[in-house]
C-alpha cells in the first residue's frame, strides 16, 4: 500500500515539474532576449531586431523537404545580417519544429506570433503548411510557403496575405506541355498517371489540358498506382499502339518511377519521357543509370549549379563557407529565396506591416534562384506566374536546358 502511494506521488511530482517547466519555458521564450553585442542598454530589444518565424518540420514525413529549406533560410538570414540587416535592424530567424502534424504546425505559428514574428514561413505542403498560414492571416501577417505547389495554397483559400513561392501544378504541367509542343515539336502523347496521391493526379490533369489547348493529341490516359510494382499491363498497351506517340508523359514518383522507366527502356522503347519535379531526385538518376537514363525531360524548380547564374554561384559559395559542402537538396534554395523575398518586401514597404508587405510582394517582379516570379493580386488568388527549370537527363546525368515560362496557364 505504502509503495503504491509512493508511486502515485512520484508520478504526480514528475508531471507537475514537467508542467512547470512547460509554463516556465513558455514564459522564458516570450521574454526579450538580450542581443549579442548590443551596445545600447535599451530595455526593449523589440526595436533592434526583426523576427521571422518559421514552422519548418524537422521530424516526420515533411522533414526531407523542410530541413534543407531551413538551412537555406538560416544562411540567407546570416548573409543579410552581415550586410547590415533590414530597415537598419538585424534579422532573427526562429524555427520551431512543426513535427509534420497540422495541429502542432498551427500551435507553432501561434507561438511564433506571440514571440513577435513579423512574418511566418510555413512548411512546404498544403496540408501541413495551411494551419500556419491561417494563424498568420488571423494575426495580419504575411505567411509564405517555400515550395507548396498545390493550387489550394492561394489567397482565395487562405487569405490576402498568404503566398506560396512555388509554381503551382498548373504551371508545372503547362510548362512541360508547351516545351514539348513548341521546343521539341512533339504532337502526340501517351499519358500515365499515378493515382495514389493528388500531386501526380492534378499534374497530369493540367498537363493534358495545356497540351490539348495547344492542339496536341492525347492518345491515351493510362493509370498506375504507386506500390503496385508491376508496369507490364501499361507496357503491353503502349507496345500494342499502331501509331507510336511522340513521347510519354509519366506522372509518378520514386520509388516506383525508377522501376517504370526501367521497364519501358528494357522493353526497347526509347521514346522521350517527360515528367514533373518528382523526377528531380538523385535516387531516380541512380535507379535508371547510364543505360536507361537518356531522353528524359522534366520541369522542376531550380538548377543548382555555379554556371546557372552569378547569383547562384554566390549562393553556393556562401553555402560552402557555412556548411562545408555543396547543397544536398534543391530545397535549400527555396529557403534562401523565401527569406530574401520577405526581407526585400520589408524594405520596399518600409515597414514590417503585413498588408504593406503583401502589397510589395504582389507588385514586384522577383528574380530568384528558383526562377523569375510574378504573383497575381489577392483577388485572383496570388497565382504564381513562375518560370520552370527544364532539366534533361542523358545517360543518367542531368543537365540544365534553361528556364521556360508557359504562355497560358490552365485555371486550377
Amino acid at each position: 500500500m505504502m509503495k503504491k502511494q509512493l508511486w502515485s506521488f512520484t508520478i504526480v511530482l514528475v508531471l507537475l515539474s514537467l508542467l512547470l517547466t512547460a509554463c516556465g519555458g513558455g514564459a522564458a521564450t516570450q521574454a526579450p532576449q538580450p542581443q549579442e553585442g548590443a551596445v545600447t542598454a535599451a530595455p526593449s530589444t523589440d526595436s533592434d531586431k526583426i523576427i521571422i518565424g518559421a514552422a519548418f518540420c524537422l521530424t516526420g514525413i515533411q522533414a526531407p523537404l523542410d530541413e534543407p529549406a531551413l538551412r537555406g533560410a538560416q544562411l540567407a538570414v546570416d548573409v543579410i545580417n552581415e550586410k547590415g540587416g533590414v530597415l537598419g535592424k538585424k534579422v532573427e530567424l526562429i524555427n520551431l519544429d512543426g513535427k509534420s502534424d497540422p495541429v502542432t504546425v498551427g500551435n507553432v505559428a501561434v507561438q511564433l506570433i506571440q514571440q513577435g514574428a513579423k512574418a511566418i514561413i510555413t512548411p512546404s505542403d498544403f496540408d501541413f503548411g495551411s494551419p500556419a498560414s491561417r494563424e498568420a492571416q488571423k494575426a495580419g501577417l504575411v505567411g509564405i510557403s517555400p515550395a507548396a505547389s498545390s493550387p489550394l495554397f492561394s489567397s482565395t483559400v487562405l487569405g490576402d496575405k498568404q503566398f506560396t513561392m512555388s509554381m503551382w501544378n498548373t504551371t508545372m504541367g503547362a510548362a512541360a506541355a508547351e516545351y514539348a509542343y513548341n521546343v521539341l515539336g512533339y504532337r502526340s502523347v501517351y499519358v500515365v498517371t499515378d493515382t495514389f496521391i493528388d500531386y501526380t493526379k492534378s499534374l497530369s490533369r493540367y498537363f493534358i489540358v495545356a497540351f490539348k489547348n495547344l492542339g496536341g493529341e492525347v492518345m491515351f490516359e493510362d493509370t498506375y498506382t504507386q506500390g503496385a510494382q508491376d508496369f507490364s499491363a501499361q507496357l503491353a498497351r503502349i507496345q500494342a499502339l499502331e501509331k507510336k506517340p511522340d513521347f510519354l508523359y509519366i506522372s509518378s514518383y520514386m520509388p516506383d518511377l525508377g522501376m517504370i522507366i526501367r521497364t519501358i527502356r528494357e522493353a526497347g522503347i526509347d521514346l522521350p519521357i517527360v515528367g514533373g519535379d518528382s523526377y528531380d531526385d538523385p535516387g531516380l538518376f541512380e535507379a535508371v543509370g547510364a543505360e536507361y537514363g537518356s531522353n528524359i525531360y522534366f520541369t522542376t524548380h531550380s538548377w543548382v549549379s555555379p554556371d546557372t547564374s552569378p547569383e547562384m554561384k554566390q549562393f553556393l559559395d556562401y553555402y560552402k563557407a557555412k556548411y562545408g559542402s555543396d547543397p544536398d537538396a534543391m530545397w535549400v534554395v527555396t529557403g534562401w529565396d523565401v527569406v530574401n523575398i520577405l526581407t526585400k518586401a520589408m524594405e520596399i514597404a518600409g515597414s514590417t506591416d503585413g498588408a504593406a508587405m503583401a502589397k510589395a510582394m504582389e507588385d514586384t517582379e522577383w528574380n530568384l534562384l528558383t526562377g523569375k516570379l510574378d504573383w497575381s493580386d489577392a483577388a485572383s488568388g496570388h497565382q504564381t506566374n513562375k518560370e520552370a527549370a527544364i532539366v534533361i537527363l542523358t545517360e543518367g546525368k542531368p543537365s540544365f536546358w534553361g528556364w521556360y515560362r508557359p504562355a497560358v496557364i490552365p485555371p486550377p
Binding site: L15, A22, G25, T29, D101, V103, S150, L152, F196
Partner: protein, 366 residues
Amino acid sequence: MKTQNAILLWLKSHTTPFLLSIPLLLLAVLVQAFGGTLLIRIVTVLFINLVMVLGLQVFMGNSGILNFAHIGFMGIGAYTSVLFSMTPQAKAATLPDLYPFLRPIHLPFLPSLLIGALAAALVAALVGYALMRLSDAAAVITLFALLVIIHTILVHWSIVTNGPRTLFGVDNYTTLGISAFFGILIIFIAYLFKETPVGLKLRASRDDRYAAASIGINVVQVRWAGFVLSAFLAGFGGGLWAHFITSFSPYAFYLTETFSILSMLVIGGTGSVSGAVVGTVVVTFLREALRAIENSANIAGLFQNNLVGFTEVFLSILLILILIYRPSGILGSREIRLTSEDLRSVTASSQTDRPVPSSTKEGKHV
C-alpha cells in the same frame, strides 16, 4: 425521501465521473479566462482527444478487444459532419462533383456533428455484427483491415471526400467551450455505459467469454452494442476535430492518429474511464512540456546542432518506462473514486488530525 436516499447512495458509490470532470472543468475555465491563444488551442485539442480516447475505451476497455478501426470511424464522422455544416458556396469550391441532393444542405454545427456521429455508428452497426463474432488476434486483424478499407474508401470516393486531396473551407466552430463540454459529457457517458447491464455483461465477456456465455450472456450482442457506441463517439470526435482544423485529407485519419490515440489509452489504463482521462492528460502535457524544453533549448542555442526529435524520443522513452513499471497503464483497471471511508473521513476530518487518505483506491472487481 426514499428516492432521494437512493440517488444519494448511488452517487456515493459512483463518484468517479465527478472526480474526473471537476479538475478538467477547472482547467477549461482557467485556460479560457487566463490562457493565451496557444494554451487554448492545446487544451481544445486535449478535449477532442479525450472524446476519441473515451470512445476507444468504451469498446476496447470493456470488451478487451484491441480496436484499430476506431480512427476510421473518426474519419467517417469528420467527413459526414462537414458535408452538412459547410455552406453551399464552400462545398461548390472544394467538392465540385458533389451529389446534387447534398449541395444545398446547410445545417448548424451541432446537428451536423450528430449526423456525423450517427453515420459512423450506422457503419459500425452494419459491419460490426459479423465482426463481433471474432475474438483475440482474429478480431484485431479484422478491425485493422476495417481501418484500411475505410481509409481506401475515403481516399477514392472523390465525390464526397475530394479524394486524396485536402478538403478545405470548413468553418471553425470547435471552440474550447464546446470541446470541453462534450469531453466532460462523454466522461459520464463512458462511465455510465460501463455500469449499465450491457456494460457489465461486456466486461464479464472480456474476463471469460465462455463463462459469460454459459450464464446466458449473448457475447456477440453486447460486444456489438459497445462497438456501435464507441463508433458513435469516434464519429463525434471526428466532427469536433474537423471543425477545429478546418482543412484535412484522408491521411489525417490513419495510422499516425491511430497510434497516438491508442497510446494515450494504453498509458492511462485501458480498463477504466479514469485511465482514459489520465492517459490523455498525461500524454498531452508531457508532449507539450517536452516540446517547450526542445524549443527553448534550440532558441537559446544550448547545443551546436538543433535538438531535433527530442520530444519524440524522450516521450517514447518515458512511455516505455511507464509501461515497464505499470504494464496495464498508470491506473490499470482502477477508477479514481472515493470509498465510503473517504467520504466519512472528509466529513469528519475537521475533528481528527489524521491525514486524509489518498483518493485513489482499488476498485471493486465485479
